[in-house]
Amino acid sequence: MTASVAPIPVQLTDVVKRYGRRTVLDGVSLEVTPGITGLVGPNGAGKSTLVRSILGLVRLAEGKARVFGHDPYRRPRRVRELVGVVPEDECSVPGLSGVEMVRYAARLSGLPATEALRRAHEVLDWCDAGQERYRPVETLSVGTRQKVSFAAAIVHDPPMVILDEPTNGLDPIERRAMLGRLTTLARSHGKTIFVSTHVLPDVQAICDRVIVLARGRVRLAGTIAELTRPPVPEHHLTGTGPLDRLAADLSTRGLPATVRVGETGPLIALASPQPDQLGLVWSAASSVGVAIRSFGPACRPLEQVFIESLRQAAQETAAPDQVLIESGGINAPA
């Protein structure tokens, strides 16, 4: 007896999408696996088109897209039953109240009438929509509208939820609550969450994996730990006491170390020690009188990783002469 393998939520292979002569997606290959995946990229990177191709709203010029094993363009109905979407744009049916809007979404997703109303109230309760749910959607605050939109996306209990800028317009408390709900859906209910956003701290806070899209291509993809790892692996140590003496002591013991100024103050950067060298660090700190506050593998801020990948993308697509000019390789023309 063979165990059935659950299909990968989203699998894109060499996807190309053109609008006229403009290529918006240029050979995109990626996989969205269960958990929370963040899609980041500058404006015009092709994020919305990517989401539309997952939903089967656009026809691909080349490549293959599969959502839970289904071709979204050929079987859009099946795919959209399995996916809930929170669009970036405020979209609502004018005249409906919040709860009617969620109920309408449930009915459109195939829920029977009574069940749709019950489920609408249930998810609105979970989203903490309160009595605001009875007001017409067009009169709701941005935050409440976002809650209604989120509730409408999950009311039919889809195995995958796609969110476009889910924390737009939310105050810090609501933002935390929204991120908490996404985490609950992913961790406790096994949902696949695909978040397209510009807010990198949100991505760093909740995402398991990140995909950086720029100029229609996937520039980076991997876990947060993989992406933020520096090119040369090193450890950072922070503490109180004579850090310069500790760095010198470690260097003499065969662990090259330098003192730098980090975001939170001075720190010691040292080449990643082998497991048997860890005790050495603690004994050296003890001998020079440094109290260690933190010690662990160094990671770069996600923002830095993101900007570097965009810079690289710009250099790849720019003309060779322009790259040389921008990098100072030749004199710029007057």
Binding site: Y19, S48, T49, R52, L55, L57, V58, P76, R77, R78, R80, E81, V83, V85, P87, D89, E90, C91, S92, V93, P94, G95, L96, M101, Y104, A105, R107, L108, S109, G110, L111, P112, E115, R119, E122, V123, D125, W126, D128, G130, E138, A152, I154, H156, D157, R181, T184, L185, S188, H189
Partner: protein
């Protein structure tokens, strides 16, 4: 946290199919449209012509019951108003063919009922339909485009077909509520006030004809209105286009028909002058020059009553002279089609071109809708 917050729970159960989706879109659309006070007034007002026509049915059946159909026919011949609006008189005068003494009740009833129903659907209801559709349809898709509500539909298991069908059903239900339902009610009332319920068997085909005629009226108009709505995010523009289509093409039809009439009169005048010239050449000289309306004197002159209600006669299918420009105007094309469906003017020469026009409108509107409704989603 509210006490009733049970957290997020999974949901697994049977899902409804596409037909339920169409119905949900339709019902929600009607509920939202019904919030308009003007629509409510218009729909209630749309039933008032049925009361007037009910008077005609009642007057006719009363005359049949009392055995005074002949005298009613004579009264109609003399131009007496029999039902308050002159409709019954106009229809009867034609149906009895000037010989009210020899009356076959059954065939007269069929003729009178058919013409009354056609007049009802063509004169007041077709115009009210234009008003109701013009009030509701322009917002149906354009508002979705403006409020980006298309995302609500096309990010869910709703296809183009269900969306268009759902929106069309909103209008179809409203249109049928103001055309088909009152017409069926009129037929039912006619049966109930007739001397015998066997009249229902004699006229069994009329309800079917009413349904077909209502659908023929509703389908092209509804699709055209939706196509206009899908072409713009501004419902005012769609409204203007809708009413402009009806008015402008009716004016065009009137202009072409008038031009035809003028050409015919001139041709007749020319023929008379040629005859006169030939007579002169043959030596049968006459000093009297034929008057401009010479040709008219050769035709029986309609009575003052008939002239007064000529538009009713036309609407009731009494005047079935070939309208070769009917295909130009949706209103006239629909009228000719309905006359054919009611069996009053089944000549293919009459209904062929209007049927072609309505088919083109229907197919063209469907193509526009299919192209436009997912256009924003395609980017």
């Amino acid at each position: 946290m509210p006490l009733h917050d049970v957290g997020y729970r999974s949901w697994k159960s049977h899902r409804c199919g596409p037909a339920a989706t169409v119905w949900v879109i339709a019902v929600t659309g009607i509920r939202l449209a019904w919030e308009s006070r003007w629509l409510r007034r218009l729909v209630f007002f749309a039933w008032s012509p049925a009361l007037i026509f009910a008077a005609s049915f009642f007057a006719f059946e009363q005359a049949v019951d009392e055995g005074r159909l002949s005298s009613l026919g004579e009264a109609a011949e003399h131009g007496r108003n029999l039902d308050g609006v002159g409709m019954l008189g106009t229809v009867l005068a034609d149906a009895l063919g000037g010989d009210p003494t020899d009356v076959d009740v059954e065939s007269t009833r069929r003729l009178v009922w058919t013409r009354l129903l056609l007049a009802f659907m063509r004169a007041p209801q077709a115009l009210l339909l234009a008003a109701v559709v013009g009030l509701v349809a322009p917002t149906l898709i354009s508002r979705d485009l403006r409020a980006k509500a298309w995302l609500v539909y096309f990010t869910r298991p709703v296809g183009r077909r269900e969306y268009i069908l759902g929106k069309a059903t909103i209008l179809l239900l409203l249109v049928l509520a103001i055309t088909m339902l009152p017409a069926l009610a009129l037929w039912l009332m006619g049966v109930l006030v007739s001397p015998s319920l066997s009249v229902a068997l004699e006229t069994w085909d009329l309800p079917l004809r009413i349904i077909v005629a209502s659908l023929a009226l509703a389908i092209p108009t509804v699709l055209l209105a939706l196509a206009y709505s899908s072409l713009t995010a501004e419902s005012r523009i769609a409204s203007f286009a809708w009413f402009a289509t009806w008015v402008a093409l009716s004016i065009a039809h009137g202009a072409l028909t008038t031009a035809d009439m003028v050409a015919r009169i001139r041709a007749e005048q020319a023929a008379v002058e040629q005859l006169t010239a030939a007579d002169l050449a043959d030596g049968h000289a006459t000093t009297e020059r034929p008057s401009r309306d010479f040709h008219r004197r050769t035709e029986p002159r309609p009575s003052a009553f008939q002239r007064q209600f000529r538009w009713l006669a036309r609407a009731a299918g009494i005047d079935i002279s070939h309208d070769r420009w009917a295909w130009v105007s949706p209103y006239h094309a629909l009228g000719v089609m309905q006359a054919a469906i009611f069996g009053i003017d089944p000549r293919i020469r009459s209904w062929g071109p209007p049927a072609a026009t309505l088919t083109v409108i229907t197919i063209g509107s469907l193509l526009v809708l299919a192209w436009r409704v997912t256009a924003p989603a395609r980017g």
